[in-house]
Structure formats: C-alpha cells, structure tokens
Symmetry: C2
C-alpha cells in the first residue's frame, strides 16, 4: 500500500474542512476516495467543491461506503452521539478509523467503543489536532521530563471560544442535549480537556459549577468553572465559556521548581536557579522572608503546528509504516471523563471521584435531559462555515 | 491643629514599618508622638530605632497612651484579634483611629466595631494601602465608570504571597487559629479581597476549597480556590496560596464591552470598537462565526503608588480638613465577610449566601478551632522583619 485510501463520513463543517486540507495537498499519503452524507444537499456541496480534482465516489449510506472496498480508512465526522456507532462498525469491517472529537458523548458509550477497538486489528485514532501545536508539545515535554519537579497547581482560563447566537442557530442539533449531549465542554473544549490531561495527568476529583444557556438561547452549558484535585495533592482550575469576548487562553502550571505559562503563541518558563525544590528550600531556609531565585526564559519550540493535517498524516504513517499516532483513539476517554465528571458534579452538586466515576448514573442523568430536549427551529439552508481561525490553534 | 499627633499601638513588623516611613519624612502632617508595646524588648527596639530623631513617649500600656493627652489619633497595629477592642476603646476616648488590616478576625466582632464607630465622632480608617496603587485605582475607575458595560467574570490568581516555613516559625502566634484566626486569607489577602470587592462589588455567593497546612507546618489555610457569583449573574474565581513560587498576580475582569487585566505593573484593556455590548452584538449578528472587534490598549495611570504613607496622609487630611480617606474603616467588613465566607464554605462544604451570612455560626466554628489551637515553639528572639517588597505593592 503506497497511500491510504480514505473515506470521509459526514460532510458538515469538519468533513468540508478536512476535504479542503487534502485538496490543498497537505496529506500526500492520503487518497481521498469517498465521501458519504445522508443529506443530498451536502453531497451536492461536496461534488461542487471537489470537482474533478480528485476521483471521489459519493455515498448516501455509511454501510455502503464501508463495504464498497474503496476505502482502507474512514474519517468519522458525524454528530457526536454517532461517533462510537460508526467507528465500531468501520473497525468491525476491518477499516482503520480516525474519529472526530469528542470520542463520544458519554463515557459508558466510549468504554464500549474502546473495548471493541482493542479487539480489532486496525488503527484507531482521534482528531486531537491541538496536540500537534508546538506550544503544547513543548509544555508537555518539559513537565513530563520532571525537570521542574512535581506539579502543584494547574490553571487554565480558556475563554476564547466565543460563539454568537447565530452559531447556535445554524443547526437544529447544535447545543441541545439530544443533538450534542452538552455545550462548550462537548463541542469546543474536548481539545483543552485532552491537552490538560495529556500534559498534567488525570485529576482524581472534580467539582464544577456550570451555567446552562447563560449567555445564549440554548439548553446546554455555556459557562464552566471547575476545580480539580490530583492524586499527588496538586489542585487545578478550568474556566471556559462561549460567552466571553475578547476571551483568554492562558494555561499556567506551577511546579516544585518553577512555573510554565502558555499564553497565545508564547511559552514562558521560570526555573529554580539552584535546582532546589520549594519543599527543600523551605525546610532549610532560615530567613522569614527568604525566597528562591528563578531564571525566566521564553521557551523555544520547533514552531510546527500542523493541526488536522498533522493528525491525518501521522494516521497514514501509522497505517503504512506502523508509526505512532498523534492521539490513540482509546485516549479519547480521558478528556471525556473529565467533561462528564464536570456535568455530573454540576447536576448533583457534589464532588466527583474520577476513579470510581459512575458511568451509569451519568448516562441516566443525561438521558433525562435528552428526553425533554427541544430542537431549535433553523431557518435557511445549512451551510458549511469557514472554520479558519476558530480552533484556538 | 496643624499636624496630627499620632500614637502607634504595637511595635511589631507593621508598627516598625510605619515608624520607618514617618522617620523618612513621608508623612509631613503626622507627628509621631507615642509608641506603645507591652513587650519591653520591643520598646527598646523602638527607642534604638527612633533615637533622638523625634520626641516620642513610650508606653507599655495602651490605656495609658490613649489617656495621656499626647495623641489625636492612634494607629492600631496589634495582632488581628485585638483590632476591634483597641480601636473601639480609642474611639470611645475621642481619638481618631487608623486600624491595620484585617478589621478583625470574624465579622461578628467587626459588626460591633462598625456600629460603635458610627456613634463616635472620630475618623476611622483602615490600612488598605493597596488601594493607593495606581493600577488598581485606574482599574476601578474604568470598571465603575461603566464604559465597558456590566461585569461578567472576575478571575484573580494571586499566588505571589510566597512564605517559607521560617516565616511561620518567626512568631508563635503566626498562622494559628488562636493567634491570627486564619492563614493566607487573614494575613496576606485582606488587601486583595478588599480590592476585589472595591473594584468589582461584593459577591452574593461564595464556594471555596481550602487546604490547611498543605505547604507548611501550620494549622490554618495556605491554599485557596474560591468560586463566587454576583447579583447580576457574573461569576468569579480567586486563587491564592503562600506555597507557590514563583507566584502570579493576574487580575482579569471580563465585561460586556471588553476586558481588563492587571498583571505586574501592567494594565491592559480591550474595548469594543463599536461600543456595542456582547448581548447586543449576539442578538443582531447573522454570521455563525461572527465576532466583535476590539481595540487593545496599554492603559496609562498616574503612576503613583504611595502605599502606607498614602493612607496615613489621607487620614491626616481627613482629620485636619475633612478630606476623603483611602478606605473608611467601616468598609473593612466587606473583604472580611468574603474571607469568612470562604472559611465557612470550606468547613461546611456548602455554598455560602453572603447577604444572609451566619456570623454566629462562623464565630462558633472558629472558636472550636481556637479551642484546640496549638501555639508553635519559637526559638530565639522575635525580630521585626524587613518588609520591603513583601506587600505585592
């Protein structure tokens, strides 16, 4: 196999976007051979967009595309709830799968998908494109290397996901319990929740305050303040919303020997000059107002930020040469567990223990909301939006 | 009266510090005429420090100083628990009072002090020296002017209050329930809690996670993450500790028409170019990924930051010419209420309603802790520390 023959399932905003990148020649080892959407107007849009540039076969039915023999791999870009169903079916038929985030809407469903994926001898990746950002890769490298000691505090203010009401009105499924299963946590923040745990590890306890339809006419959360604790005693805070403008993206981690802050395109680090940890300093220092000295540096990165194409290309490399993926699909459970725990904490008013997370209870609580969920009235045709600059990449 | 004749009650760290500023000529309308401390070694230290520079009379007993006829005003710089008692006694004797922060340790006590203060025809100020900082004065001016619309979110990460164990070991009363009545909230953060409410208004609900003796061998809190809600629906987060180093001091307020961030010596503002509020924009914009445009400006201030001397000089102006003070003593209740609500929330695990704050319950809960409080063993003599650069000014 010289190239991976890819079929895209779902030609909405993300499907369109991936097609655009492939057409632009960003994925030389990917051959886009099929596009599937059950909405005829979407297929028309795809045909018009692709034209004669590629030899693409169009399908209205996923099963037909899966069984066509045309594809080696499927990119699943359907609404969130259907991610596990279609991913599992494709894997069952021996197809490699790249799934859009979130892995699913509720952990119970994703646990099932992960167990299934382990049995299938295919590659299963998840579109965690922000892991390709040089800032976060470098931040992770520094923290995981241990050169700054153990983590003590993680604060992420990620409020630059602004969306006006028109965004929510652009699809009747948007920001509904039945259509998306959540708001900013399920649609915008899967990247940040994944990066947070990828860089700092999983929290052990989650307590969250959520506000539902606070800034928009929607039924799901659009404002979140969460507090977490880690196994080693460190704490963290995660603040997000789609209502603030201008927003902030500032991710700060304090450790025993320093601090590191990612903000915008900058990565700054403060490192103990003596390589002493704070506990070591505090135990030996005799001066009441004594303090440690730090070196402040602007951290250099490799400057690369290939985003979606980077994830797809690594996926192709994994299929063709067994190279590592950007994010193994199975890891999608991590960010989703934090997300679900935040919802469950807000609904119950309780602190949630992550290790003993009650997947059944979450599912029940979510389904209660799905049962009374109302779809919005949407006027006009649904057009794929230009997503340039909307990923906080 | 040409000058205010001032007596300082308590010659510890703060008393020493005020004396230093007065000796340096920073308060031309203040005449330091008396210093009182019940510890003979402190009086000796004061005598050695003042020398012949001023004509100061020394007292071992507060009542004697108050009744000496030498003073017009008293600066109360004794341990926190005694602030209300001595302040009220001085007022009762017709003396003007400048009280160190916090106003007291528990609101019940400060309510009594405030009721008493209203009856006395004297000036009563509180040493909220950080209100003199040009950054915070300007930030307040902008926010209170309404030019950025209503507040939506306030986030203050104020973790640059680092203290090593030696600090806590420098006084047996330090960081004990019986000696200070709290930790970072009562000793370091009264300024920030006061500024927070001075600039953004009082929250209506407080939920807090506190950790006691987490980073130090102390019995009180040294790590705080608090979530608040305001009457208008805005939310806020306040994160503080004496354990982080290097710490952060970043105060961000998001409003309907922009954002303002105070960090270090910088004050940055983003202001809507169209003067539209976010709700107005969202209601009229038709583009799914539409966004508002902002002008980003580095805000100019008057650059003045007179700190303690500024507060003392305004106090003198209030006494001599009825000019406004930096902080009316009665306002000390505000920050303390937030502080007490954080403690009570952490102790009870509940969200605290500020308007119906249960002052009696707080007092009972605090006294339970005072009852089993242990004073530390301190070796060596207690020396006044050099406080330069420790106020986060």
């Amino acid at each position: 196999m010289e190239k991976v023959r890819l079929g895209i399932l779902g030609y909405g905003n993300m499907g369109t976007n991936h097609t655009k990148h492939i057409l632009a020649g960003e994925s030389p080892e990917i051959d886009l051979v099929a596009i599937c959407d059950h909405k005829p107007e979407r297929i028309e849009a795809a045909k018009a967009f692709v034209g004669d540039a590629l030899n693409v076969t169009y399908f209205a039915d996923a099963e037909e595309m899966f069984k066509s023999g045309l594809c080696d791999a499927i990119l699943v870009a359907v609404p969130h709830y259907d991610h596990p169903k279609f991913s599992m079916r494709a894997m069952e038929l021996g197809l490699h799968v790249m799934c859009e985030k979130p892995a699913g809407v509720y952990t119970k469903q994703v646990i099932e998908m992960n167990e299934f994926a382990k049995k299938c001898d295919v590659k299963f990746g998840i579109m965690m494109n922000q892991r390709t950002n040089c800032i976060y890769r470098k931040m992770r490298e520094i923290i995981q290397s241990g050169e700054l000691g153990a983590i003590r505090r993680t604060n992420w203010i990620i409020t630059n996901w602004y969306r006006p009401q028109a965004y929510y009105d652009s699809g009747d499924w948007r920001a509904t319990w039945s259509g998306e299963g959540g708001g900013v946590l399920l649609n915008q923040c899967p990247h940040n929740l994944d990066l947070w745990q990828w860089i700092c590890g999983m929290p052990s306890k989650v307590y969250a305050k959520l506000h539902f339809g606070k800034w928009h006419d929607i039924e799901v959360e659009d404002d979140v303040t969460a507090y977490v604790e880690y196994e080693n005693g460190a704490t963290g805070c995660f603040i997000t919303t789609t209502g603030d403008t201008p927003g902030t993206n500032r991710f700060e981690v304090t450790l025993e020997k320093g601090k590191i802050i990612a903000e915008g395109k900058s990565l700054k680090m403060w490192k103990s000059k003596t390589n002493m940890t704070e506990p070591e300093f505090s135990a030996t220092n005799k001066i009441p107002f004594g303090h440690m000295d730090f070196e402040e540096v602007e951290v250099e990165t490799d400057g690369k930020n290939p985003q979606h194409s980077g994830v797809l290309n690594a996926f192709a490399g994994a299929i063709l040469r067994d190279e590592p993926m950007v994010a193994n699909g199975i890891e999608g459970i991590n960010g989703l567990t934090i997300s679900n725990a935040m919802h469950l904490s807000a609904w119950t008013g309780k602190e949630i223990d992550v290790a003993s997370f009650d997947h059944e209870l979450y599912y029940e609580e979510l389904m209660k909301r799905v049962a009374t969920s109302r779809r919005k009235t949407v006027s006009g045709t649904v057009e794929a939006a230009d997503l340039s600059g909307t990923y906080n990449a």
